[in-house]
């Protein structure tokens, strides 16, 4: 699944570590999601969406 996480994070000038701390996961998790190696669960996707104050479908895109 594609996502806009890297772009959204860059807009906020957050490092991967900073975003990881905000959503309560490891930096490795953020990296894996950004690079498309791992698709987050729905609860984690909602947490990410809440952080960016965007709907899930504005962050995660259908292939």
């Amino acid at each position: 699944m594609k996502n806009r996480l890297r772009v959204l994070r860059a807009e906020k000038s957050w490092s991967q570590q900073a975003l990881a701390e905000r959503i309560g996961v490891s930096r490795q998790s953020v990296n894996a999601i950004e690079t498309g190696k791992y698709d987050p669960s729905l609860p984690l996707a909602f947490r990410i969406a809440d952080i960016f104050e965007l709907p899930i479908e504005a962050i995660f895109l259908r292939d």
Partner: protein, 135 residues
């Protein structure tokens, strides 16, 4: 595993459980080796002594299961579960293939207690698999 996940509370709890169990295992092995002769008959005393190291092994398995429960990072948990699955496949493959070799040839018998160390070796294979698969 990298430095960051290992510093997470779940990994710290795992280490805190694993180290005393390892000390207990080594002590129990030494005790059993010291007091049970090689050809000793099964008696309540020898069985009890021989079971002691087994308790530590059960403890290790419990510690590893608890790690999966304690890990609140779903990606890291997925990596651990994948390692466990690779290790299980690795141990089953070796036990099955070696068992057939034992059945049809005169290769040395693989002691059953070696299955757990082989499974642990499989964890290393799982770790390598996680790395090369880019996870």
């Amino acid at each position: 595993m990298t430095c960051l996940p290992r510093s997470s509370p779940a990994y710290r709890r795992y280490t805190k459980r694993f180290i005393p169990l390892t000390v207990f295992y080594i002590a129990a092995i030494m005790l059993a080796s010291l007091f049970i002769p090689d050809d000793a008959a099964a008696s309540p005393a020898t069985i009890a002594l021989a079971l002691l190291p087994g308790l530590a092994v059960v403890g290790w398995i419990w510690a590893m299961g608890s790690l999966l429960v304690d890990l609140d990072d779903e990606y890291l948990r997925m990596l651990e579960v994948r390692k466990f699955l690779v290790a299980t496949g690795f141990a089953l493959a070796i036990a099955s293939v070696w068992g057939l070799l034992e059945l049809y040839t005169d290769v040395p018998k693989l002691p059953v207690f070696m299955i757990f160390p082989i499974w642990c070796l499989g964890l290393a294979v799982g770790q390598i698999w996680n790395r090369i698969s880019g996870a």
